[in-house]
Symmetry: none
Subunit: 353 residues, 2 copies
């Protein structure tokens, strides 16, 4: 079942049976180097997470390291869910967007879009992102995008991305402190808080929107704000496949529109996430979406790991991992195409044997 | 599961979820009239095999004869597998190439390409193929091909085709005697050997490449060598769906390139075959592929009939039939699109009730 978070069912029902292109935005921010800030990846190898995620969803193996990215407690990457869906009901195509990677995925035959965007700095020192340039690259990408499918599922893999997203929302003046999710069950509030406070301390009252984003954002947030606006003149529905980070993309869009005194036709945009995000007591995706001047349809896939006995997967249901690598959007795509919870569960289990 | 024979997974994974056109090359060679040389078909009616295969994969019934082509021991044609896949996850289109048939398939609404190519003679007497002309027709076909899909699955049905393929490889100077498959479990080496020796006796040292092909080849081998070269300037991936015969097409291409001092961009070409070919102790598909100057990705579908109790299908697992009518490529296509071994098995069984 697909559940509605905001709006109504019509948008997502209109995509039933349609073909999707899966676009994965991969980016590194040095913010992830702060010890203990994220559990999205292998300690000491966090920068590899988006690279490994891209390899795994595309070809089912990781080439840039021996094993699938796991969190310290052994929670496997949500890329498992995305890959399972791709095996059960393939995306029309998978394309990869290099939005500043330390290590490029080792893939042949897959389209990897490059934009000459460097990994961003840590927001503790000011991220030093050429924000207007990254934004413009997102706009141009959307304007020139050629698809073989009916709609886009836009996903992300950015270690420490919830930290940069929260910092961005706060710096942009949203009262969002308690609304952001973390890849941790017991989110490391102390460390995260310190990094965010440090990040915010660099923001001056005279900074304009892009100057703020340059200091506290990440490439994914800024590029995708541009991508969404670049899609406005095109007739391509888009699913933002993610949780609070994708919600933050919309918060950025909202501020850009206010600055430009523009309006958004949000009828072709929806957000799709996981049940773990939608039901997370420590964040509020609905609240974040409702902070925008525009309204937006948002959904979650009613999928959990209640049908498995695998201890590593059970940790998802205990709140240890919640979203990422487009898992929520992929699950919704599977449910839209007749794939069952049972099938998805068995396929994910098959990766862990 | 799809297993890699040569190369890496990337090519085939990039086709996951993409749509394929299934092109069946049908041809008769009088070589099949030698008693006992092939078991691909009904004794006395061997020439009908490609015609019946085409009818069966297209519409699910055979019109030019009452029953599905069976080998003398009652092994049903691999067209059953191709048809099963087409029912479970249809090809975008099926098109038929008449490369010299005694009897045209009785089909309406299906595209049957004709090329004014006559059935070829027996290689025992020199096949008398207008080789350069057939080759040129393959080139032209590829250059003008209009597809509704993302890639081609190229299949063949040529009774006695493994005999002409082995003769061709040997005549072209490849040390391939122990590398070729047969549709028989206990391949009729005596008869085949005699026919091939006879064929090779017609080849003179002064013969050029096309003169050799004219004597010992078949239309499918020569046409498809042209087709592959004609595709070089087009952005269309192609899966050679077959075993040692399709490998022989590549051996022919290799000699043509050596003659022309040309190079092949093999990045958009792969060979996909069955497990029965890949694991055949009496042939060596990998060895054949590695005889070329270029490298090529090759895969097999990890499918067998272990899930059935049907005695006629069990014969496949005993090595009685191995490949043909694009079965290997069709199985890979099914696996790429979420279809399971169980589903394929049940569908094939349903044809035999």
């Amino acid at each position: 079942m697909i559940q509605t978070i905001t709006g109504n069912k019509d948008f997502i029902e209109s995509l039933r049976g349609k073909r999707a292109s899966f676009l994965l935005c991969m980016s590194n921010t040095a913010t992830a180097n702060t010890p203990g800030i994220t559990q999205a990846g292998i300690p000491g190898m966090l920068h590899l997470t988006p690279t490994l995620d891209a390899e795994f969803i595309s070809i089912g193996e990781v080439r840039s390291l021996g094993t699938i990215a796991e969190t310290p407690k052994g929670v496997p990457t949500p890329a498992l869910l995305t890959r399972a869906v791709h095996l059960l009901h393939p995306f029309r195509e998978i394309e990869l967007l290099n939005l500043g990677l330390e290590i490029t995925p080792k893939l042949e035959h897959f389209k990897v879009h490059t934009f000459s965007i460097a990994p961003s700095g840590s927001i503790e020192q000011g991220a030093s992102i050429p924000a207007a340039e990254v934004f413009e690259k997102g706009v141009a990408f959307a304007q020139n995008l050629v698809l073989q499918s009916d709609y886009i599922i836009l996903a992300e893999s950015v270690p420490a991305g919830t930290t940069t997203a929260l910092a961005t929302a706060l710096a942009l003046g949203y009262d969002a402190r308690d609304k952001f999710s973390s890849s941790f069950k017991n989110a490391p509030e102390g460390i995260k808080q310190r990094v965010i406070d440090q990040a915010l301390s660099h923001v001056n009252e005279s900074d304009d929107l892009f100057e703020i984003l340059a200091k506290v954002g990440d490439n994914m947030l800024i590029f995708n704000a541009g991508l969404l606006l670049g899609l406005q003149n095109r007739d391509i529905p888009i699913v933002l496949a993610g949780g609070t980070q994708m919600a933050c993309v919309l918060l950025v869009v909202n501020r850009i529109l206010q600055m430009m005194e523009g309006e958004l036709d949000s009828s072709k945009i929806a957000l799709c996430t996981t049940k773990w995000v939608a039901e997370d007591a420590h964040s509020d995706i609905k609240g974040l979406l409702e902070m925008n001047d525009f309204s937006i349809n948002a959904y979650y896939a009613d999928f959990d790991f209640s049908l498995t006995a695998h201890p590593a997967l059970k940790l998802y249901d205990e709140g240890e991992a919640k979203e990422g690598v487009g898992a929520g959007g992929a699950l919704v795509y599977a449910l839209l195409n007749g794939i069952t919870k049972e099938q998805i569960t068995r396929k994910v289990e098959s990766f862990l044997r």
